[in-house]
């Protein structure tokens, strides 16, 4: 197994507040990793650092050996919490955009997934509901054959059917050469899908272990353990 993400003493400060403290983390290809923590614990900060949307205050972050930059962005597929596609675009415009900028984008796969949802690609994004827009983004992101997928709160605020769709899409597109990071605070919904979990609390790494290991050792679910670690 080769390492895809390596963080060393990674720290991010905003002015006087520290969002991430001295984080050391190493993730391997082929794993589905849950990045877990309450809101404001530093999950999004870590994901933004991986994607070069923030610059570390100190420490290093390497994706397949590259610091965040053009080379890393070629192999990282990022689903932010935001709906980042411009409203005026048709679904097909968005597909062309991804096709042009990402060499690993599989156009055929994207259209297949759209068909599966009975989504007409000539529709404008403006005309789609928020939930559908999020699905289109997920399809675009998962249609890339990336080495690292960063999904920031993909199941936050969606109904159970949509959640199943999202999880199915993630599993369907799984490949052993890629690592998938899923950040969420809704652990019970996705813990069976995860191979590993990372707990972050107030900017500190609390735990990084395999799910089965935790269940075997602690005899409890990740969700119960989470409730213990983060008890208010």
């Amino acid at each position: 197994m080769s390492v895809i993400l390596e963080c060393r003493s990674l720290t991010k400060k905003y002015g006087s507040t520290t969002a991430l403290s001295d984080l050391n983390l190493s993730l391997e290809r082929g794993r589905i990793v849950g990045l877990l923590g309450p809101n404001g614990s530093g999950k999004t900060t870590l994901i933004k650092l991986i994607n070069g949307l923030l610059v570390p205050s100190s420490g290093t972050i390497k994706i397949n050996g590259f610091e965040p930059g053009v080379e890393s962005k070629k192999i990282v597929s990022y689903l932010p919490e935001k709906t980042y596609l411009p409203d005026w675009m048709k679904v097909s415009d968005a597909i062309n955009f991804f096709k042009d900028f990402f060499a690993d984008f599989d156009e055929k796969k994207a259209y297949e997934m759209l068909d599966h949802l009975h989504l007409d690609s000539s529709k404008r994004l403006k005309a789609l509901s928020k939930g559908t827009k999020e699905k289109v983004q997920l399809i675009l992101v998962m249609s890339r054959k990336a080495d690292l997928y960063c999904l920031d709160e993909p199941i936050g605020g969606v109904d159970p059917a949509a959640r199943d769709y999202i999880l199915n899409t993630i599993i369907t597109n799984y490949n052993e050469n890629a690592c998938v990071i899923i950040s969420t605070h809704l652990i019970a919904d996705i813990e069976n899908v995860l191979d590993e979990v990372i707990f972050i609390k107030e900017g500190y790494l609390q735990l990084h272990a395999s799910v089965d290991e935790i269940r075997e050792k602690e005899g409890k679910s990740i969700d119960s353990l989470f409730r213990e670690v983060f008890r208010c």
Binding site: I32, I171, Y174, R215
Partner: protein, 123 residues
């Protein structure tokens, strides 16, 4: 096959148990071809790695065998399945009896209850 996963046991063990149950109850017949790991993982909504691990466990026990080119199959070894069936039934009943014991119900009373309930079910 319906997958029901609870939360406190390792997921791969639960998958192993449920596939075993499927074999015993005949949902999976001897010699049947199993769906791919990915498809099974999607159905059960678990990580493909976990499903892979469950398959490895089942292969180790000889209940499932892999053919390099054509996929995975349920064993045709009826004797092995019979043994598994016996093991499984024993385990379920043992757990039940342990529970009854905890409730302070002795074996005789338990058996009389079983008879009563099965008579009612027949009617």
């Amino acid at each position: 096959m319906q997958w029901e996963l609870n939360t406190d046991k390792p997921v791969y063990l639960q998958l192993v148990e449920q596939i075993q149950a499927g074999i015993i109850s005949g949902i999976y017949k001897p010699g049947d071809k199993l769906p791919s790991v990915r498809d099974l993982a999607i159905k059960a909504t678990v990580s493909p790695n976990t499903m892979q691990r469950a398959m490895t466990e089942l292969e180790r026990d000889g209940l499932v065998y892999a053919n390099r080119t054509s996929g995975r199959f349920i064993t045709s070894d009826e004797e092995l399945i019979g043994k598994l069936r016996k093991q499984y039934i024993t385990q379920v009943i043992q757990e039940f009896l342990d529970k009854m014991d905890l409730l302070g119900v002795n074996l005789e009373e338990t058996i009389s209850y079983i008879n009563m309930i099965s008579d009612n079910n027949k009617k």
